[in-house]
Each structure stands twice: as C-alpha cells, then as structure tokens.
C-alpha cells in the first residue's frame, strides 16, 4: 500500500507553500514556457547563464504541489552549477522519477532529489514533477516553445 507521506513529504509541502526563486529575473539569457494542458499547469523558467555557469535561475507560474515544489527545488539545486553539473543533476532527477519502485537506486547519493522518489508510485503525477525540468532543458537549449509533458 502506498503511503501518502512518501509523496507529500515535508520538503515538498514546504517548497509548495514558500517556493524559492519564485520571481521573474531582471537579467536573464534563457527563457522558456512550460505548459501541461491536461492539468492546466503553467510555468515560466528564467535562466542567466554566463561562462558556462548558471548564475541565476527562477520560475513563475501555477500548478499543483508536486509541480511547484519540483520547480522550486530544481532552482535551488541548479543555481551556481556549471551546465555539465546541471546536466548530471537533471539526469539523476529523471532516473529517480522514471524508475520502477523496486529498481535499485542509491537514494542516499541523490541528496535533495531523493524527495522525488515518492512520485514514482503515482504514475499520473510524474508529469507534474517533470514539467519544470523539461522547461529548464528547453530554456537552456534556446527553445521557447510550449512544452507538453505527456
């Protein structure tokens, strides 16, 4: 039986209530809009990349607790990282939310990302968690088009 606390962990509830970097950046080099028409989630991601480093990153938008906290946690993890480091974090995140429940993933090494392990048990909610991350990828790659995560 699923334990709802696996999904709605304190960190997720906290970031949902007080999202970090929840603003529009004054100076940014990259921007993308993410949209999940199925649930109506919308997110704007602003990124300032200088010399291969994510100097600043922020988001705005509306969505459920999972999508909002995922965006908030993502910004705290990616800020100050090189693009290569960011890529590694993105891949780890992806690995966690798309893995099977009994897949052997060492969550201890995943730091804050481990909080998303609970999402795996809720296939209908995985797309909520991935919206911000896909939108960041789009922003970084210079695509401003709306992302649909289905």
């Amino acid at each position: 039986m699923n334990d709802i606390n696996d999904l709605y962990q304190q960190m997720i509830l906290d970031h949902n209530k007080s999202p970090r970097n929840f603003k529009k950046l004054e100076n940014y080099t990259h921007f993308a809009k993410g949209h999940n028409p199925l649930c109506g989630d919308e997110i704007d991601i602003y990124v300032l990349i200088e010399n291969n480093v994510i100097k600043d990153i922020s988001f705005q938008g509306q969505g459920c607790a999972v999508s909002k906290s995922s965006a908030s946690i993502m910004t705290t993890l990616l800020k100050g990282k090189t693009l290569e480091e960011a890529e590694e974090i993105y891949e780890n995140f992806h690995k966690i939310v798309t893995s099977k429940i009994d897949d052997n993933i060492n969550l201890d090494e995943m730091g804050k990302l481990a909080v998303f392990a609970g999402v795996r048990k809720y296939p209908t909610r995985v797309k909520c968690a991935t919206l911000a991350w896909h939108t960041y990828e789009n922003a970084k790659n210079g695509e401003k088009e709306i992302t649909i995560t289905e």
């Binding site: 509830l13 199925l38 649930c39 109506g40 919308e42 909610r125």
Partner: protein, 410 residues
Amino acid sequence: MKNYIKKNIDKIRSDFPILNKLQNNKPIIYFDNAATTQKPQVVIDSLKEYYENYNANIHRGVYYLSQKATEKYEETRNIVKNFINAQFDEEIVFTKGATDSLNLLAYSLARTYLKEGDEVIISHMEHHANIVPWQELVKYYGIKLVVLPVDDNGELILSKLEDLITYKTKIISIVHISNSLGTINPIEEIIKKAHEFDIKVIVDASQSIQHTKIDVQKLDCDFLVFSGHKIYGPTGTGVLYGKKKYLKEMVPYQTGGDMILNVTLEKTIFNDIPNKFEAGTPNIEGIIGLGEAIKYFQKYSIDDIYEYEKELLNYATNKVLEIDGIKIIGTSKNKASVLSLYSDVVHPHDLGTLLDEQNICIRAGHHCTQPIMQRFGIPATARASFAFYNTIEEIEQFIEALNKSIKLFL
C-alpha cells in the same frame, strides 16, 4: 421513509459488483459518476450472454443467431424510445456516445441545412464535445459560432438569448445539466424561444438522462443526445434522438455497410432512418447492454432518484461550506449531482491524489470544459459527482478526507 431508493440502498448497492469490492482492504467510494457510472450485474451479464449464446452480426442474417441478435439490438431501440418518450422507434439512432452523436449532428446539419454566414448558438458551459464540432463548421463551412454567457453562479444569462438570436441563427445546441458546475439549465424556455424563430434545438442530455425525467415530446427538442455509459450502460454506446422529419431530410454522417439499400459502382441508394445513420457493424453487445441498463434504471422512480441524489448533493454542499479554504464552483440553486470544488490551499490534482489514498474516486481537472474554467479564472476543479447508489456515510468520509487534506497543506 417514503423514498424507495433510501429504503433499499443496501439492495441497490449489492446490484453493482464494484461497490462491493475492497481496495487495500477498504471499500471504494466512487464519486466520479459524471465521468462514467458503475454497471449493475444485469448489464455485465447481458454482455456475456450475447457472446456465449447468440453472437452474430445483425440485419440481413437469415439464420437464427443473427435474427436473435438483431431482435435484441432493435429491442433496445424500442426501450430507448419509450424511455425518452419519442414518437417512433426510428427516431432513435445508436452511436458511440454523446460526442459521436454531436459530431454526427454538426456534420449532417451543416451539409443539409446550413450555408456560409449561418449562426449556431452554444453556451459558455458546454462540454468540449459541444464546442469543437461547431468550431470545425466555422473553419470549413463559414458558420458563425455565438456563445450565450454564464453568470458568477454558473447560470446561463438567459436574458441575453434574444439579443444573440438573429435571422441567421439556425441552431441552438445546449447542455441540459453542466458536467462541471451541475447547473440545470432551463431548456424548456430555450426551446420555446428558439422555435418562435424557427431555430432547431439540440439538447445535450449526457448529465441529465440519469438524474431527471426526459420526455422529448414534452420538451419538444428537435434533437437530444446522451452516452450509454453514464446511465449505467456499457462504454462505446450512445443515443441520438431526432425528430423524424429532420432525420429523414438529413444526409448521412458516415457511409458504407448497413446504411444502404442498393449499391452499384456508380451510385448508392441510402437506407431509410435510422439505418442511414448507422454505418458499419455497431457495438452490438454494448447496445444490448444499454437496453438492460435502462430496464434496470426504470425499475426505480425517477422522482425517487432525483430526490435521493438531491439529498446527497445538499448534504455534501452544506458540509463543504463549513470547510475553510474550499469554495464551490457552480452555485446555482437549481443543481444536480455535481459538486465542483476549488481551493487556494490545495491544488485539485493534489486533492485528487490525497483522496485516492482513501479509496475516494473524484475527478480533478477541467472536465473537458476548459472555456468555463477560463470563465471562472481557474485551471481546474476537484469534482465529486453522485449517483443513486452513493450514501450519506460515504459523503461523511469524503468530508473528513477533505478536512485532512486541507490541514496537511495549511
């Protein structure tokens, strides 16, 4: 207790196998009846019976099995005709569902009656199935789509209707009961007004057929559509009722087998109604199951069902109003079955997941009515919708779960 449903609720619930199943050792509380209803055993059995005893294609089979299948299929037509009080069996056309019925109507009405610049009126609270087919006519036939607005309570602003009607208005297609707000629209008035101006009226009865009395002759609607699976029948079944004089004039929607009288390589003579609108092998077992579903439904008095479901809705409404942080979208006095909730504290999708943990099935989303969500400035609602097999006890558990969810997010 005068209400038969209330008195016999345990017996009624035992007719629906899913309601007696356990999930994680707990019963399922099914509050997504506006999306689809659960099926009584008699309906499930009828599908099995068809495949085990008389599976054959219908019409033109000279052997017994085919005759029996045809007979049962056509029996449903007669059951539906009597159920909605149509005048003739051939006024009942079987489709895949209400969406299919509305697509048929949009396509066929456009080709038969409409010309560029003609106007179709819908309302702001329509299901996408009653919006998108008309938008296609705008694109391909130059039809103008006009929208009757909705007020803050989720009621049609009926006083605007006459302003919207012009000499080019040919069709009004309107939902009877809103699937996302629960509002019961005054369709009698709309039909009367429309007919003063010689406008044809389509009623989308997808959410009313299972909750209120439908009498197409009394309503005098020109067309009426509903889905079988929302009235305890199988999925993939639907009904289009149309006045005989119009159905006879209208061109077919799909062509091919079963809808013809005679085909040569040069030309085809179409069959008469209703076959003209039923091309290809239909959902035979589904339609037979729909007949069983309606027969089952008709065992009860619609007044008892309406009264009982109203009691459930009123009880749930009053309890929800006591919860801080949740508001009800759709506050018309005249409502049925649907309770749409919105909270600034908990997003509808989070609410849906949290309730699911307690085996409470509700729907979170825009309910295929994005324009009315836009009208209220929200992306989605969490919707509980009731059927006559639901109980006050289930609603109490739902309210408790709502309270718990809100607290988690505060």
